[in-house]
Structures are given as C-alpha cells and as structure tokens.
C-alpha cells in the first residue's frame, strides 16, 4: 500500500501487515479452497506445514535408508541371499559401499550387483554361515584371500 499523504499515514494500520500476510499467502498458493487466499485460515495450515517440514528433515534420512534397504533386500533375495547377510559379509570382506550406492547398483548395474552378491555368498560359505542352504554356485573363486 502506497502512502502518499499524511492523512493516509494517520489512517493506515501499518505498512507491514500486508507484506506479512503476503509472505504466508505465497507459501499457501497451492492449497485447497480458502486456505490459499484467506490469511487467518491459511496461517494455520502454513504453520503446520513448516513445523512438519522442520521435524521431518530428520525422518527423511530414516525413510530413505528403509527404502534403500528394501530395494537391496529384494535384489539380494533374487540372488539367494538376504540384505543382512550380504551387508555383514561385505563388512567382513572390507568392501565399504553404502546403501545408496548398493541400491543404485541393484537397479542400474545388475551385473556388478550380482557379482558382489555371489562373492558375499562364497565368503559366507567359507565362514560357515547359512550352511544348510546348500552349495554356492560355482564360478566364484576367493582363494582364501578375503
């Protein structure tokens, strides 16, 4: 609101109010119904939204980790292991790839992922884990070096 005369200045409630409301309404532009245009209704929704986004920035990391673990587990089960076994065996073997990378390999580099999974299976057989599952497919040579 442009104040062009002293009378207007006396009558105005303050120049800030409009811009304060605008800051909130800009964030609520994509909401449904009166929540996008009416300030006193929008402020409630916007405050809740900002609180959620602040708190859930931590939850994001947990969510992604669960998602990645699920994806890796799915690919592992196709190849005859499980995520827990594979990750623990990778730790023992010294391969330090993290979950983000493993899930990317599982999706976009299936051959590399398969090689890694079979390698962990061979190492598990050496360690004596999951011995009741049956023999490991041939073709994986570790020569006791892991």
């Amino acid at each position: 609101m442009v104040i062009t005369s002293p009378t207007l200045l006396a009558r105005s409630r303050g120049a800030d109010k409009y811009w304060k409301q605008r800051r909130i309404l800009r964030l609520s532009a994509h909401y449904y119904g009166r929540r996008q245009n009416c300030y006193s209704i929008a402020i409630r929704s916007v405050r809740r939204a900002l609180q959620y986004s602040t708190l859930h920035r931590r939850l994001n990391k947990v969510m992604y980790k669960t998602l990645w673990e699920g994806r890796i587990n799915a690919s592992c089960q196709e190849l005859g292991t499980t995520y827990n076994d594979m990750y623990a065996t990778m730790d023992q073997a010294g391969v330090a790839l993290d979950r983000k990378i493993l899930q990317n390999l599982a999706i976009w580099e299936p051959r590399s992922f398969r090689a890694l999974a079979l390698l962990t299976k061979a190492k598990q057989e050496e360690e004596g884990l999951n011995s009741l599952d049956g023999p490991v497919p041939a073709g994986v040579v570790t020569r006791g070096m892991l």
């Binding site: 405050r47 900002l50 609180q51 986004s53 602040t54 920035r57 073997a93 010294g94 391969v95 330090a96 790839l97 993290d98 983000k100 990378i101 990317n104 390999l105 976009w108 580099e109 051959r111 590399s112 090689a115 890694l116 390698l119 057989e125 011995s131 009741l132 023999p135 041939a138 040579v141 020569r143």
Partner: protein, 243 residues
C-alpha cells in the same frame, strides 16, 4: 538321586521325572519318556570340509545323528543313534582356481590395454559421501568446498569401478593411480531456502530460521582405468609424492 547316578550309562527303562539334589544348581525340567533307547555307539568323526558340488552330502542328515536330547531323555547319556557313514572325496581345487583367476585377470587387462571396455562407472568418495559417477555426470557438493569455477580436479578416493564386462571392488579403496576420475568445477551457488520453523500453539512460542547452503557443482570429465589389474609395483606409496 544324584546326577552322577543318572550318567552311569547303564541301560534301564526310563522313569518319570526325577529331581537331583545338587545344592543350589537348577536343572532343566525333565519330560517323562516311555520309550527304551537303543544301544549306544560312538558315531564316526565326520570331516566337514569343503567338497566339490557334486559330492557334498546333506548337512542335515549328518547332524541328525549327532544330536542327544536334554538331560531327561535316556538318562542324560550320550545316547546317539548310529549315523550313516559317508565318505567324501575332497578335491584340491587350488590349481584350478589359480588358473581361473589368471585367465580372468588376463581378459580384463586385455580390455584395459586396448581400451575396449566402453563406458566406465566409478564409485567415488567425496566430502563424506559416495557418488556413482560416469563421464558427463553432474555431482552437487554441499558445504565448504574451496576449488573455484573452472578448476580441474582428480577424485582419488575410488571405491569401485565397473564396465559392461568387469567390476573392480576396492577394500575399501582401489589402489591409488589405478583409476583416474577427473572433474571440473562448473557452478557455485546457494541452495533453495530451507525454513526451520518451531511453533507451540497457545504458548506464544515461535522461532524461525532461514538457511541456504553453498552448493558446488562438478562435471565429471573422465573415468579411465590407467594400470593393468593385478600388477604389483616394486615400490608402493610414492605416486604423486614430491621428495
């Protein structure tokens, strides 16, 4: 009735639950058993070595014969049913494995020397995070990163490299100088505005913070395998060092 008497090993019909008076020790609860156990014999010692695929016996059948029940069954004796006697021929596959390794490494080195591996991808460790990169990729780095726009970098911590036909995994890093992953700094900007807003209703409590992180964007210009695999240099640890 003491426990020592129970473990004498003589055959007798089983009886109902008995208690042993061995001071403060607690015994597991015994189950009444009405069957008479067969003759006790020592099972042959089974060698559980690595066997070839075709000759590996079923582990379950081996173990079944070795199990003895809890204290109450059969008087706590080492009461074992006779296990099936199996023999396994363990082939020494060391030579064959060495030969296979040699062949595989030779194939990989051929591809490396002729440069026929095609497009390579690498897993690179940068500022605490791992990135799966190939040539032409953009990598966004968050936080303090000194290099300026236009600087050429070599990303030396490579965890893994792969192509269509082979993958090399480091434990945890590949040998320095094996793979060259080069990048160029393309852009230095700020991230989008992150609003940190804490609010407690009806308590007149509200605080907000507006934060923008510095982002540095790198363009990966090159991923290449420089040395043959399996090569052991005479002196290690002097690459890139100035004496």
């Amino acid at each position: 009735m003491s426990v020592a008497g129970v473990l004498s090993g003589c055959l007798r019909p089983t009886f109902s639950v008995w208690r042993a008076n061995i001071g403060r020790e607690r015994l597991a609860s015994c189950v009444a058993s009405m069957t008479r156990l067969p003759e006790v014999t020592q099972p042959p010692l089974l060698l559980l070595k690595h066997a070839t695929l075709s000759q590996q016996p079923n582990l379950l059948t081996q173990i079944r014969g070795l199990r003895s029940g809890p204290m109450g069954w059969g008087g706590g004796r080492a009461g074992v049913r006779t296990a099936a006697v199996t023999q396994e021929v363990v082939e020494d596959s060391e030579e064959a494995e060495k030969q296979l390794s040699k062949e595989v490494i030779h194939c990989v080195n051929q591809q490396v020397q002729t440069g026929e591996y095609g497009r390579l991808f690498a897993v690179v460790f940068l500022q605490g995070k791992q990135h799966l990169v190939t040539t032409g990729d953009l990598v966004v780095n968050q936080g303090f990163f000194p290099p300026n726009i236009g600087d050429e970098l070599r990303l030396e911590k490579v965890l893994m490299v792969g192509s269509r036909d082979f993958s090399l995994y480091g434990r945890p890093l590949l040998r320095p100088g094996l793979v060259h992953v080069e990048a160029r700094v393309v852009e230095k900007t700020l991230s989008h505005c992150r609003i940190y807003f804490r609010y407690q209703r009806r308590k007149n409590s509200r605080k907000s913070k507006f934060n923008r992180e510095t982002h540095t964007v790198l363009r990966i210009t090159r991923v290449e395998v420089m040395r043959p695999v399996g090569e052991v240099p005479e002196v290690e640890g002097i690459e890139g060092k100035i004496f």
